[in-house]
Amino acid sequence: MSYYLEAINQEKNHRRILKNISLEINDNSILAILGPSGGGKTTLLNILARIDQPSYGKFYSSDNIVPKGIMIFQDYRLFPNMTVFQNIAFGLRVKKKSRSLINIRCQKIMKTMDIADLAEYYPHELSGGQQQRVSLARAMILQPKLLLMDEPFSSLDENLRLEMLNFVKKIQEKFKMTIVFVTHFKTEAYLLSNQVAILIDGQIMQKGTPKEIETHPESFAVAKFLGQANFIPGELDENCFISSIYRGPVEIKSDSRQLLYIPFSNLITVDKTDYFAFEAVVKEINWIVNENRLVLNIDQVQIQINSNSSQFKIGKSYKFYFKQLPVVF
């Protein structure tokens, strides 16, 4: 079974927030919707949760049941007037399940989430991490086929974030559900998901595995959002790119901006290849965990690249090569 979004458009106050979004979401997978804030991520999620109706377009699933995602909100939105237990039980209670069933299920899920001690607490007495667990439990108790998470880990600190990431991964494997989550942290998206969709300015710019996205961004907008890259202006002459640091053959993605895309990683090397890039002087070497960030001077132009080689010395000049044909947007 899969979920389909078909030409979803959303307008609010005469502003188009989502533009023609079409997306297929596979069953039993984790899809990350990655993009800058204000790009319409939450709006899209609200449509999947059926909190909002799209202005145009359809959201349906292949098994003919009208799908509805259960949402975990960015600010958790635990009902302030209910205890943790009541919050978790809410979904079952409104379905008029029996008291004993609710009790059993709640106890079980609270144990899984490691929040059994908190049953009688009120939301304002909990820490951010605890609140998140409760909101996760509140959604999970309904055994949703489609779970939605809005910036689920953004307010957690580093350790807790990793812990929750693994936890979510584990429950996804256990319950075989589909998770769609939105985030503006690419590492978070890469760590948790099998598929990443880049949503910028209300449009899905690219969809693929984390590796595809990172190594082959399809447009300038995606490359710019991913960051960690230099953009060198220049001019195109047939298949040749002419700029202050490099003139030679390139692969052309779209010729509108005429920018040479040099990501920090995975393109520039000192090992000889078929594609000579430039000769540059090493200006600075900064240590960034397992790698060094080099600042290179080519004539007047400064670019940065990452390298895990320790052969570089400040002030010396080296020859650099492209691992493959560079891309121009």
């Binding site: 909190i51 259960i70 939105r77 009902f79 302030p80 409104v94 007495e125």
Partner: protein, 289 residues
């Protein structure tokens, strides 16, 4: 934060004012009601006046009637106000503005104004009756239902509702709009119906202000004089009118009794309000600390 001493200093003017007028008047009433009233040479402290008040069957019936009447009209105001506030909350744009403006008007006008309007409109010789008569729907003005000075106090209730519904709407709208998160969406997402979302989420969240509004409405209905005096039924008096009539009869020896009645009315209002507050507080454990 300001130190304790500074706080006391800052609050002094208010306290002096408060003691001078409010506490003073209240204590005087209590003392007088206990039978200490030197002007007419009454100096003996006694509970007789309270006893005679409570043994007076007409006082008891009138009190009970006033209590039920106040409860019902305050409850009506709260229910209708709640409904309107929720509707208003959901409308947007120009209508919201217009409607919000509209709800402010009744709050601004005095009761006398509304009494006047009601007398003109729905009394048996009023405009509506006149129109119906002209249209031939009723053959004489006596056929028009008695809506003012009627035994069911309908005129008084309408006046109170007219004033109090907007008050409830305004105070609830304030609370609703200060809740930045719409918890109803969460409830819907988790599978609740509209009714369930209302009962389990919206109502508990606004119950404090609703009960507050109810207390204010109730106390007003219970203790105010001019509207029942003008629109109420002479046979089925309400408590404030009853007490005021005592007061203006001018029998100065009756003064302690009047004060006793006054104290009973005030104390009852206060106790009732406190009970409601207590209930409200126990319902909102989540809101403390």
């Amino acid at each position: 934060m300001a130190s304790k001493r500074k706080l006391v200093l800052l609050l002094t003017p208010f306290c002096i004012f408060f003691c001078l007028f409010f506490l003073n008047a209240f204590l005087k009433s209590i003392i007088t009601s206990l039978g200490y009233y030197p002007i007419v040479k009454l100096r003996k402290i006694t509970l007789d006046y309270y006893l005679s008040a409570f043994s007076d069957p007409s006082f008891i019936t009138i009190s009970l009637r006033t209590f039920i009447f106040s409860m019902i009209s305050a409850a009506f105001a709260c229910i209708i106000g709640l409904f309107l506030a929720l509707c208003l909350q959901r409308t947007t744009g120009i209508w919201k503005k217009v409607f919000t403006r509209f709800t402010q008007i009744p709050v601004m006008l005095p009761h006398v104004f509304i009494v006047l309007a009601l007398l003109q409109l729905i009394s048996q010789t009023g405009i509506i009756s006149g129109i119906l008569l002209k249209l031939g729907w009723i053959s004489s003005s006596n056929q028009f239902p008695l809506l003012v000075n009627d035994p069911w106090q309908i005129g008084v209730v309408i006046t109170y509702l007219w004033k109090e519904i907007p008050f409830v709407v305004v105070s609830l709208i304030l609370v609703l709009s200060s809740m930045k998160i719409d918890y109803r969406d969460v409830a819907f997402n988790l599978g609740a119906s509209k009714f369930q979302a209302f009962c389990k989420v919206t109502l508990p969240l606004i119950q404090t202000s609703l009960i507050n509004a109810f207390i204010i409405n109730f106390s007003f209905n219970f203790g105010s004089y001019e509207v029942p005096f003008l629109l109420g039924n002479q046979q089925k008096e309400l408590l404030p009118v009853y007490i005021y009539n005592f007061y203006v009869q001018g029998d100065i020896t009756k003064m302690p009794l009047v004060m006793a009645l006054n104290v009973i009315l005030s104390v009852f209002s206060i106790i009732f309000a406190l009970i409601l507050l207590k209930i409200s507080k126990s319902l909102s454990k989540w809101n403390q600390g």
